[in-house]
């Protein structure tokens, strides 16, 4: 229990450090929404004082306020549970934007992640057990290529083939305009139909790395003494495979947990390509408009979930693999 508290305490510290760093780092990006808006008002004929008042009124911050003061204000708000309001979507709380986008990302990315993980694991085991055959070579090559091709290339290629050439899947959105979101078949079917291409992209770009990692760990495990003992003891093939699969998959567990944490960040490229209203698209839009509060909110979400996923992975790993001492 003490260990858990210590771990959570150190995680909190890391989150504070990372978010503080990102707060200052994003302000080093070229461009500044306050100055851009301030100059726009000047160009509209306002005098400097009027323009400054206007920006302060709209953004709730002075254009010339020092960054450290902005940080103190932001951090105080954060401690009170507020991530501020969006610059681009005037007046809309960042938490509202994030919670509106989050479900779309979580559903698609978790399905994509699970499918790519399962496919990668199965293909990795097949490739390892048949490692001198043509099948192993083919699986490895496909896995390597799928892993190497950037997500946005895969997304555009799928879109071109399945939307422009074959007219099978829609090009954008999370559901049809005629459907009302809710627990009704029309909406659910429309959502499944619309998410086919984004999920396929996650699967295609994700399974390769799992397959290659799984193959590598399976080959290591296959030559372990306990596997040889199992063979010599004449255990059934099914039992041997269970031993092999369970022990090979363990090293991938941490990676999987980190991916679960990372999925809260969505994918800027995939969601952007398919106009999918998730966290990745929100993040991309906020970067484009230098919407600092939204960017900070997205960073905070991703950082927190990855760090917490790491903690959970560490805690569970000792339970899953008794060889690891707690």
């Amino acid at each position: 229990m003490n260990k858990l508290v210590k771990r959570l305490g150190s995680s909190f510290l890391i989150i504070v450090i990372v978010t503080t760093m990102t707060f200052f780092l994003i302000r080093l990006m070229p461009g500044n929404p306050y100055q851009v808006m301030y100059h726009q008002f000047l160009m509209q004929g306002m005098n400097a004082q009027q323009a400054q008042d206007q920006v302060r009124s709209i953004l709730n911050v002075s254009p010339n306020q020092p960054v450290w003061q902005q940080f103190i204000q932001w951090f105080t708000d954060l401690l009170h549970g507020s991530l501020g309001t969006s610059i681009q979507e005037t007046g809309v709380p960042v938490t509202e934007l994030i919670f509106n986008a989050l479900p779309w990302t979580l559903v698609t990315v978790s399905i994509g992640l699970l499918l790519s993980f399962v496919i990668g694991i199965v293909l990795g085991v097949i490739s390892a057990t048949k490692r001198n055959s043509w099948l192993s070579g083919m699986i490895d090559n496909i896995g390597s290529i799928a892993h190497a091709v950037p997500a946005y290339v895969t997304a555009v290629a799928l879109l071109y083939l399945f939307n422009v050439v074959w007219h099978i899947f829609p090009s954008s959105g999370a559901y049809g305009i005629m459907d009302t979101p809710g627990l009704n078949w029309s909406f659910i079917s429309s959502f499944l139909y619309h998410m086919a291409l984004p999920v396929s992209t996650y699967v295609l770009t994700g399974f390769g790395s799992w397959e290659l990692a799984m193959k590598s760990t399976t080959i290591t495990v296959i030559n372990d003494d306990f596997m040889m003992a199992a063979r010599l003891r004449g255990l059934t093939r099914q039992t041997q495979m269970r031993y092999l699969g369970w022990n090979s998959i363990l090293p991938l567990f941490t990676g999987f947990m980190l991916s679960l944490g990372g999925m809260f960040g969505g994918s800027i490229f995939i969601e952007g390509t398919y106009s999918f209203p998730g966290i990745g698209a929100l993040f991309a839009t906020s970067i484009g408009s230098r919407d600092y509060p939204v960017m900070e909110g997205c960073f905070l979400l991703t950082t927190t979930t990855i760090i917490l996923a790491n903690v959970i992975a560490d805690m569970f790993y000792t339970k899953l693999d008794p060889r690891i001492v707690d």
């Binding site: 009124s57 459907d179 499944l192």
Partner: protein, 607 residues
């Protein structure tokens, strides 16, 4: 073998999953009376009445209507929409508008003078109404309203009518009146905000106004069913990809509207619309193209391209604080040495015209405001490097084996600053290459557009040469000359027309009087102020001609090309009017959503 069987099973399962997914595919529900559009125009008025966090964005141009649509032609004509008639007083200081009794909201109630009053109260709060010189309004009867303009304020009749009738969609008092303070408080605060900028009362009034403005601009109606619409289509719902609108049967031109629904594609990026056009899913789109995509799109689904006139484009602004751009001959030499048609072909390869006469006005405006004799008296600066060379030599430049040397002994080099707009980037790269070949070592200094504009862009006076929008976004030339002779030159004019030099950044440092050889003195600021006011047709023509002449000689900026409004329409599902020979219809592609105007006028029929 066992493994092959397993693989086969996996493949079979995958195929089954894919087939099942396809079964989810909703059946195509497109109706013959649905029109699909992408990109386009949003009328000025409100920010967004819907909860934006839910991804809802309303195209106010589809759901709300103005009092009238301006045709943007020389005869100052309008098509009436919600207004039945209007009258501007002889002195141009009062405008009386009578609402069409047939104009209704989407619940069947009448559009009244109170709705117009509420709409313009919001324009006062936003500070817009004062910029047109409005001082107040009065409701004469439920269907008639009078607008009052400050007699001291310089603003011509045509511009004032355009602002009142065309530029503002009329919003429902039922939705917005409760968000506003009382009328007397609004006008009292507006008046106080115009006092001495340093006075405490003025600052307080401005703060109050900005708070009201913030509330209005950011207000989201959580229950969208309460929203009333006076435009042709009422907003129904939206997703991240598209918006749906349903015909408003109470719309004043409802009988002419043939599209029962409008499906609007959310153009998150150009390629979203390109794909939809390639798939034949869009009837009208406002999107630009790369040449290969353009060719593909135009070859399918009866897609056609319209290059509608637009009052803007790219120019090079010369900072006359910086040597050698202090010399008019240098600016003129550069005008001769830059091959504008070639540069345009590179920057804007699809149907964009280069500037024929660099006088600050677009070709459409030139045709409209100047006679052929006047136009022919202007210098077109046709590409002629020899003339450029001659001009440079005449002011002491020397051409050496290493390029041009300035009279002060330094090499003549140029740095052209520009934001990362792909067309501008390509254009100035071409200019840089052209000038470098002619011995003026030129560098294209392309920077992130946020950085460029965060330093106030070309208007900052920080760059010796920078790219700049020109043309004023309006066919009437007061905007374009106001931009160059006032804003960039850091002058201001008081409401009563007093010209004042401001302190602060100055991108031009132009004189207040220019001696044009064989023509005489031209006073750019005075003339710009004059054309803002109400002049006789003859005096207006003379003032505009003098401004054109002064600009054409002095060349404070060199306009390179005239940006066109590139629009795509498909005649696959709808017949379109013959707009090519009708400038007023063609202008709608630039200034309005043509689908709204053409359907309202009964000019579009389903096929």
């Amino acid at each position: 073998m066992v493994l092959s069987n397993q693989v086969s099973k996996i493949l079979l399962a995958a195929s089954l999953a894919g087939s099942t997914l396809l079964l989810f595919a909703p059946q195509a529900s497109a109706q013959s009376t649905t029109i699909s559009i992408a990109g386009g125009w949003q009328t000025n008025g409100i920010n967004n009445p819907l909860p934006q966090a839910n991804g809802n964005i309303i195209d106010t141009g589809l759901s709300y209507a103005p009092l009238a649509w301006y045709k943007y032609t020389g005869n100052y004509d309008f098509w009436p929409v919600l207004a039945k008639s209007w009258k501007i007083s002889r002195d141009g200081n009062t405008v009386t508008v009578t609402i069409n009794p047939k104009a209704k909201w989407s619940n069947g109630s009448s559009v009244t003078a109170q709705d117009v009053y509420t709409t313009f109260e919001m324009q006062f709060i936003d500070g817009n109404a004062e910029s047109w010189g409005l001082t107040g309004m009065r409701i004469i009867n439920p269907m008639t309203i009078v607008f009052y303009k400050d007699p001291q304020f310089l603003y011509n009749k045509s511009m004032l009518l355009q602002q009142i009738l065309n530029n503002n969609i009329i919003l429902p008092a039922k939705n917005y009146a409760s968000l506003l303070p009382s009328a007397s408080l609004i006008f009292k605060t507006v008046k106080a905000s115009n006092g001495n900028p340093k006075a405490k009362a003025t600052i307080t009034a401005n703060n109050v106004l900005t708070q009201w403005q913030k509330k209005l601009d950011g207000y989201n109606f959580q229950d969208t069913s309460v929203l009333l619409y006076d435009g042709p289509w009422s907003f129904v719902r939206s997703t991240s990809a598209e918006e749906l609108y349903q015909k408003n049967s109470y719309y004043v031109y409802a009988n002419n509207i043939k599209a029962q629904q409008v499906m609007k594609l959310n153009q998150t990026s150009n390629d979203v619309t390109w794909r939809a056009l390639e798939n034949g899913q869009v009837d009208y789109a406002a999107v630009s193209f790369s040449p290969p995509v353009f060719k593909t799109v135009m070859s399918v689904h009866q897609n056609h391209f319209v290059a509608a006139p637009q009052s803007t484009g790219m120019s090079l602004l010369f900072n006359e604080n910086t040597y050698p751009f202090t010399m008019v001959q240098v600016r003129q030499a550069l005008a001769y040495m830059i091959d504008r048609p070639s540069v345009t072909k590179i920057g804007e390869p699809i149907e964009t015209p280069s500037v024929k006469i660099p006088d600050g006005m677009t070709e459409v405006a030139n045709q409209q405001w100047l006679s052929s004799t006047q136009r022919s008296s202007l210098n077109p600066y046709t590409y002629n490097p020899q003339k450029g060379t001659k001009l440079l030599l005449s002011v002491g430049f020397k051409k050496t084996a290493n390029g041009w040397v300035m009279p002060n002994g330094n090499p003549f080099t140029m740095n052209i600053a520009a934001p990362t707009f792909s067309d501008w980037d390509a254009g100035i790269q071409a200019i840089a290459s052209e000038l470098t070949q002619q011995g003026i070592k030129t560098n294209a200094d392309v920077m992130d557009s946020t950085i460029f504009y965060s330093t106030n862009g070309a208007g900052s006076g920080k760059f010796p040469v920078a790219t700049r929008w020109w043309g004023g976004w309006n066919v009437y030339p007061s905007n374009t000359y106001n931009q160059i002779f006032f804003i960039d030159n850091n002058y201001s004019v008081s409401n009563s027309g007093q010209i004042q030099k401001q302190t602060g950044p100055n991108a031009l440092n132009m004189p207040t009087a220019i001696l044009v050889p064989k023509f005489g003195w031209v006073y750019p600021q005075k003339l710009t102020v004059a054309i803002e006011g109400n002049l006789s047709a003859r005096a207006q023509n003379q003032a505009i001609y003098q401004l054109a002449k002064g600009y054409n000689y002095w060349l404070p900026a060199l306009p390179i090309w005239n940006q066109l409004a590139g629009r795509t329409y498909s005649s696959q599902n709808w017949s379109w009017p013959n707009f090519k020979n009708d400038p007023s219809l063609l202008n709608m592609f630039t200034y309005q959503n043509p689908v709204v105007v053409f359907q309202s006028l009964g000019l579009m029929q389903p096929k």
